[in-house]
């Protein structure tokens, strides 16, 4: 089966439509994950043991089970209890929740990595809990997290093909539909791989930059 360049040019516009959806899903999913992650990280530190435990267990559960199955659940099972989400919304929620549990770990590590001496110095300076968080802890905790978060968002990008299971017309789904129409798999699938590789390689450059910019706090 040889490579057909004419075919490549013919299907390119369709695939680019898919790329747009893929990127949109990644951006929305990342934004949601960043928020969900912070919420989980803070709730797990809650004084209320019951809240901390159940949030912890839920996060572990989501992290320990496949995103694909979760997407099926959100899309096909939730309507039984009256929650009907459009595909893109269901997909964003799935990605956001799943990667939110990863982001929570990043937040946790970032907060834990602020040395104990900083909490103590804040106390010796008589800062309140709120002031300690906003002026001392978070400004030190967040910059080193940025590369790790970015890393997960790139991983999320590569998992967007799962959204095809819930009828989102992202890149992989477009490629499949093209392939099914013309019975040629090699070109569309190779192009999908190439798209992912190109975007990933670009994001590696971005990551390196983020690491240089934020990776290290000088103490």
């Amino acid at each position: 089966m040889e490579w057909d360049w004419d075919f490549v040019w013919q299907i390119m516009p369709t695939l680019i439509e898919g790329v747009k959806i893929t990127i949109l899903a990644t951006v929305l999913g990342s934004a949601l994950a960043a928020v969900v992650g912070l919420a989980i990280a803070l709730l797990r530190r809650s004084e209320n043991k019951a809240v901390a435990r159940s949030v912890g267990f839920a996060a572990e559960f989501i992290r320990g089970t496949p995103l694909l199955v979760q997407l099926y659940f959100i899309f096909y099972v939730l309507p039984d209890v009256g929650i009907l989400l459009p595909p893109m919304v269901a997909g964003t929620i799935g990605l956001g929740l799943h990667y939110g549990t990863y982001a929570a770990e990043v937040y946790r590590a970032g907060i834990d990595n602020v040395p104990r001496g900083q909490w103590e110095a804040a106390k010796a300076c008589n800062l309140s809990a709120r002031q300690t968080w906003t002026h001392v802890i978070l400004p030190q905790a967040i910059p080193p997290m940025i590369p790790a978060l970015a890393n997960y968002f790139i991983a999320m990008f590569k998992e967007t093909p799962l959204l095809s299971a819930i009828t989102v017309l992202e890149l992989m789904n477009q490629a499949k539909s093209v392939a099914n129409t013309y019975y040629r798999y090699v070109e569309p699938m190779t192009l999908v791989g190439a798209f992912f590789l190109v975007i990933s390689l670009c994001s590696v450059v971005l990551l390196r930059w983020l690491e240089r910019r934020y990776g290290r706090v000088e103490r």
Binding site: A124, C125, N126, H135, P139, E218
Partner: protein, 261 residues
């Protein structure tokens, strides 16, 4: 005789199964300069951390200027202190740490102004004016715009002292403030502290392994071992004529290791 500024009454503190302090009592007079010495693990740091409310006590009472530190009097009853009470009490106390604990993301000046501005609502201009005075006193005014990472250890520690002073506490706690410094940098910090001791009537508690400095600095020396005060007295007495055998052997070891008394 004036009332003691710090009154520690039979306090106990355990870490897990290990009892660090067991019914310790002591008093400190206003303006007194106190040195706490003793072998590693004897509980010196723990006492300072308890006074700074970085650790809670298991039993006993502490009064600062006659007011309970870990308890609140409400309708004649002693209740455990809440955060508001602690915040009020902490205004009287400042602490300088062995590892400086400067805020690495803030400039030297911001390190010093942060707490007055946030906790006392001091306007920026006033806070900065006072900060420059303090930085000047510790010889760091010219580095006000630097970040902590650009300072040497001795310089960091001097900034940390200025930061603690900015809140004008009545009591200052110093925990081995020179032991993380290169030998040549030790003196610049000790000089600042000598001056501080001479010029203010602040009450100061100092934990140190620098016996020579403890000698010059302190009005009174407490020798700790195993969470207990084994011996106390004027520096001359303790360093030249220790009565207890444990004090003698400790001082001998320290001297053998090359420290001057």
């Amino acid at each position: 005789m004036p009332a003691p500024i710090i009154k520690i009454d039979a306090i106990s503190k355990s870490f897990g199964a290990f009892k660090v302090l067991d019914g310790l009592s002591m008093q400190v007079m206003p303006g007194e300069k106190l040195a706490l010495i003793g072998p590693s693990g004897s509980g010196k740091t723990t006492i300072l951390r308890i006074l700074m409310t970085l650790e809670r006590i298991d039993a006993g009472h502490i009064q600062i200027e006659g007011e309970q530190l870990y308890h609140m009097e409400r309708n004649g009853q002693l209740l455990p202190a809440d955060e508001r009470h602690l915040t009020k009490m902490r205004q009287k106390i400042g602490m300088v740490f062995q590892l400086f604990n400067l805020f690495p993301h803030k400039s030297v000046l911001d390190n010093v102004t942060l707490a007055p501005m946030l906790t006392k609502g001091t306007p920026r201009a006033a806070a900065e004016k006072r900060a420059f005075e303090l930085l000047d006193m510790v010889g760091m005014a010219d580095k006000a715009k630097n970040m902590p990472a650009q300072l040497s250890g001795g310089q960091k520690q001097r900034v940390a002292i200025a930061r603690a002073l900015a809140l004008s506490p009545k009591i200052m706690l110093f925990d081995e403030v020179t032991s993380a410094l290169d030998p040549e940098l030790v003196n610049e910090v000790l000089n600042v502290m000598r001056r501080l001791a001479a010029e203010t009537d602040m009450t100061m508690l100092l934990v140190t392994h620098e016996m020579g400095f403890a000698h010059d600095f302190a009005d009174r020396v407490l020798f700790f071992d195993g969470g207990k005060i084994v011996e106390e007295g004027k520096p001359d007495e303790i360093f030249s004529h220790p009565k207890q055998e444990r004090t003698q052997s400790f001082l001998k070891k320290i001297i053998a290791a090359g420290h001057r008394v």
